[in-house]
Structure formats: C-alpha cells, structure tokens
Amino acid sequence: MAGSVGATERQLNLLSTLLKARAPLGWPELADIEGYNDHDTPLRSRQKRFERDLKALEAAGLKVSRQSVHNRWHYELDRGACLLPPLGLSPEQRLLMYRIGMAYLQGDEAGPLRRSLSSALMKLQAGAGGDGLPAELPQTFVRRTLNRRPAESARLDVIGPALLDRRRVTFKYAGRGKGAATTRTVAPYALVARRGGWYLVGYDIERKAERTFRLSRMRGAVTLATPRAKAPEYEVPTDFDPERSFSTELFGRGENAFRDVRIAFSAEVGFIIENEFEGMYQLKTRKDGSVILHLPQAYPDELLRFIGEFPGHWQVQHPPELRKLVVQRLRGALKNSGRAR
C-alpha cells in the first residue's frame, strides 16, 4: 500500500529515518522507507521521488549532504546545520515568547505572520526543553493585529507571507493620476503603516526602481508573480531603509505645506494630544490644562481630518493663512449643511 502514502507522510518518514541514522544511508536502506518501498513503482521513479523529497526538506531548512561510498551515493543529515542550538531562555524571555504567540496568533485573523511565527515560537519553546513555557500561563494578553481595513487585510495576507518568503507579487494599481490601473510586479521589501493605511515598499521589476504603493489603491486581488516558484526570488538590499520614502512629518511636508503650525486644544482633550504626540512634537500645556501643539509643517487636509475628531475643542492659532483657510473651509461646510437642508 506504499503507493498511497501522501507527500507529507513520506517526507516525515524520510526525515525520521535520516534523524535516527547514525551513519550515511545508501539507497538499499532508503528503499526500505515507507513511500519508497512500493516495488510496483519502477526504481527510477522512486529515486526521482526521493530527489524531490530531498528538495522539499531543503526548502524547510534541512541540509542533507551526499557522499560517494564505493561509487554509490550515501545521504546524511547535517545535524549541526539542521538542529536548533540549545537556547537557555530566562523566565522573562519565556513569558515574552508566550505573550508574542498570544498577541499575534490567537483567533481567526492571525494575519500574515501566522504560520512561520507559530512554528518559530514552538521551536524556541521546545528548544528550551521542559522550561520552554512560563511557570504560570497568563489567561489574557495584549492582542496585536497587523490587519487594518477589510480591503487591505486580504492584500496584506498575500504580501506579508510573500515578504517572508522573498517572493514577487503582482497586482493592478491605480496611482494618484487619472490614468487607468496598470499591472505591476514588485519584489516586496517592507510594509509600512502610515496614517491608518498600509503601504508596500518594494522593487518594481518593469520600472527597475524602488517604488511605494498604497494598499488601498491596489485593484482586485494581489497574487504571487510566479506561483510555482519554490525558491526565494530576490534579496532585500542590506542598506534598505523602509522609512526612507516616508515623511517623518505625520501631517505631511513639502513646498505647499504650511509651516510653523500651532493649534490650541481645550483642557478636556489636551491629554489626548499629549498621549499621541509627547516627545514627537513640541507641546505646551497651559495652566488651565489646555495644550498647544506645535507642528513644523502640515497639509491642511491631513490636519483637518485629525482635529475633526474633537469637534468644538480646537482652534488654529498660527499661521494666519492656515487659520484663514480653515475658516473658509468651515464656512463652506456651513453652506453645505444649509444647502443640503
């Protein structure tokens, strides 16, 4: 019945035998393994199957060396390279590893790190032996999710694993211009979250340059560019900085941005501004608890969206041109509300 053995089971049997062996194994010993001992299948096909399985094990990080003994190939696992070195984890590190597992991997929406992170943590915990888990398992935890807006989640679930596997992705993209969406093939270098949305930074194959793509501007599904490829397709350059393409100014910068922007927030919401921006931007807390936020520069659109969350609790103080523009916008909003009525 060996012919009905599935690929996973066959590879597990092969791995078990290689792990247990104390000397290199030749084909006669390998041919005894379940999955290679179906004598109805021609020897050449069984050997080809064996070669494919070796490649699959190598893809899982297992190095199998081959050497010729009496003109016949013999195979052996390189234990030094294949097994995790013993790791002594402190109680705090054990708890941290457990927390990270709970934080990213519980529930149905475990997201793009799901399989690889789970397996890595299990290995770490197993490698620490009976002490791999914290003495007392916490019942609850901080829950983290990389997924954000629903439309982005599905794309993130393809691009995230592709980034781990170093595989190229392809998608239709409608940039800022009015032109139709174009098909792009990109080697993902990083995913960056800014102002509530995700951006892919990567190497655009056709344009032969690094580019940034907003996930919400992708159209339809994202797929692997070469689904059948097994090996990594690129390397991320060692000097790559994912934040290079992004402004450090949260509300944007550039020639048309307003400079030296000051906004006063009432005492009731002042602490929210401190929670968000203390240490990032200059803040001045006045005696009455109100807070003045000082931004080196900002675009009015980005800024208005943010302060819109605190209706009636803010006032633009500087520069006068921005104040004038905000008043104009507010008047426009008032006119709109009257018109709609």
């Binding site: 991997l105 983290r144 270098y189 929210i272």
Partner: protein
C-alpha cells in the same frame, strides 16, 4: 512554509512538554484542541524501518476533554527542534520589532535581549536575517506615555484587577470616571483599545487608550470572563447596539477617490460613485459625535445628506468652531 516542518515543530514541543494538558498545549501552539489532535493523528502514521509498533510515533491522552494530558511516544529523534527556516527567523524578527514599537520599557528590554540572544546562538541564513537592519512591518512608534499605559493596562488584564479610568468619550463628548473589568488590550487598525466590562454602561465596551487620561488599578479583582460573543480584533466589533440611523455623505471630486479607497470592503458600507466624479457613502450610524467630527474633518469637501436630524447638530458644531476662530 512546509507542512513537514510545522508538524515536526509540534512534536518537538510536545516531547519537551510531556504531560501538558490538551488545552494548554493547544493555546501554546496557536491552534484549537481539535486541530492539535488532527495534526497529531497525521504524525502517528510516521515511523522508521523496520516498522515494528515501537518504530511508529504514537500519543496517549490521560484524562478527559481539554484537561487530558498528552504524551507522545517513540519520537525521541524529534526531541531537539529543527533549526529556524529563513521565513521563521524573519517572522520572529518582524514580530519582535513590531511588538517593541508599543512595548513598555520592561518588555522592550526583554525583546531587545531576545533578539541579541538569537543572533548569538543561531547560525547560517537565520543568523544573517536576524542581524539584518531591514524592517518588514513598520508601524508608527508610540509615545512613552502610551507605551506605559499599554503596560499598565496589560498588567491589570493579566492580574484581573478592577480599574478606574478617566475617559473622554467621543459619544458623550466629555470626560467621565468609569470603573471597568479589563478583559484584553487590543491593537486594531491604527489604535489601541481596552476591551472591558463597564459599570457605567452595564455592558462591554472598547475604550481607546489614547482617550484615557488616567488609569488606576484597584486592589479588587474580578472573576467573570469576557463574554463568548466577543469578536475581538474585528473592525466592526467596535460598534455596539443597533444603529441609530443611516449616515449618507456626499464627497467632492477632489476627495472622492481617496475616501472610496479607504472605505472599500468595509462591512455594511455602500459606495456610490457619481457620474460627475463625486461619490456618496452610506453606512450605519452608531455614533453621531463621531459622524459630526468625520464630516467636519472634510470641511467644504463633504455634504451630510442623511440623517436630516443630524444637520442641525453639525451646523451648531461648525458655528462653534467658527466662533472659536473669531
């Protein structure tokens, strides 16, 4: 990631933790008890020549239900886990980096020590990737205040301590003190939330962490668990009760595309592009204070079409803001 590597990792974990309960093993290996048993069933078909009964991996369960204790037999050769694959090394590195962006000082130090330990202990490709400066998932770094608040409330959650919070509610547009039983700290979208039972509301609520002015852990501990119906981590779970109405907003040509991109695929949202380039968005209205801020944030680029009763409030809020600007 290969299925073989995943199953071998599972067996290594169970060999190292002989006698662990099914419930704890499932939790620690990030799967349901049912899935764990089905994965183990796949391993019992695995053995080595000459395939006598003691050459096959098997497992036994002592006890009943999720409390049963697991023991895996004849799997000594899997006792030492396999080395990290490049993907695993990267996933761990990315998770530790992402976790650190909002970790309290103590957890941050542990995360940094962990990365250092791995760099020193591992070798080959995994070591190279862990030493690489490149980041994979980059989110904004939280302020010191926020990271401390995340740490404090996580402690309350783990110790089941009742907490008193001073909270600014967008719904009520004012600060109020609430006593809560914290169940979890969640990062959803761009914000952190405290999921808790609130004595004032008599129900569970998601509290945005940046809207908590102060949090005080009380000596009192609570016993009740989070309700089963919780769907933590889902965007739509942040809204409670029945919608008050339907919110319909029309956006100008200048902002329509941006808004449609952002709202695409959201549950219960209808997007209607208009011929002239404008667009209308219709969504259930749960919170009029949020809705007023949302529409106002677009200034003259958005028109509130429905509900009609909210227009008066919007107008008053806009007038108030205009008055503040003289």
């Amino acid at each position: 990631m290969s299925e073989v590597a995943e199953l071998v990792s599972l067996v290594s974990f169970l060999v190292a933790n002989e006698g662990i309960s099914l419930r704890e093993a499932a939790k620690a290996t990030h799967r349901t008890p049912k899935r764990l048993l089905s994965d183990l069933d796949r391993m019992v078909m695995c053995g080595v020549p000459p395939y006598t009964p003691s050459d096959y991996i098997n497992y036994s369960l002592r006890g009943v239900g999720d409390q049963a204790r697991i023991r895996v037999n004849f799997a000594g050769h899997f006792a030492r886990p396999l080395n990290f694959t490049p993907q695993e090394a990267l996933a761990l590195k990315y998770a530790l980096e992402h976790f650190s962006r909002s970790a309290d000082p103590e957890s941050l130090k542990q995360a940094e020590d962990m990365i250092r330990l791995l760099r020193e202990a591992l070798h080959g490709r995994a070591q190279e990737l862990l030493s690489d400066r490149g980041k994979g998932f980059v989110t904004p770094r939280r302020t010191e205040r926020m990271r401390r608040m995340i740490g404090l409330l996580s402690k309350a959650v783990e110790e089941r301590r009742v907490v008193e919070i001073e909270y600014y509610s967008a719904h009520r547009a004012r600060l109020a003190t609430r006593t809560v039983h914290p169940f979890a700290v969640l990062e959803i979208g761009a914000h952190f939330y405290l999921y808790a039972w609130c004595a004032l509301a008599g129900d569970t609520r998601h509290f945005r962490l940046d809207r908590i002015r102060d949090a005080r852990l009380l000596e009192e501990r609570f016993a009740a668990s989070a309700p089963k119906r919780r769907e933590a981590g889902r965007m739509d779970s942040l809204f409670h009760g029945t919608p008050k109405d339907r919110l319909v907003v029309r956006f100008s040509r200048e902002v329509a595309r941006e808004v449609c991109d952002e709202w695409e695929g959201s549950p219960d949202v209808q997007i209607r592009p208009l011929r002239d380039g404008r667009a209308e968005i219709e969504t259930p209205l749960y919170n009029q204070f949020w809705a007023i801020g949302f529409v106002m944030g677009f200034g003259d680029q958005a028109e509130l079409l429905q509900p009609k009763w909210m227009r008066k409030e919007l107008e008053q809020t806009v007038r108030q803001s205009l008055k503040a600007h003289g």
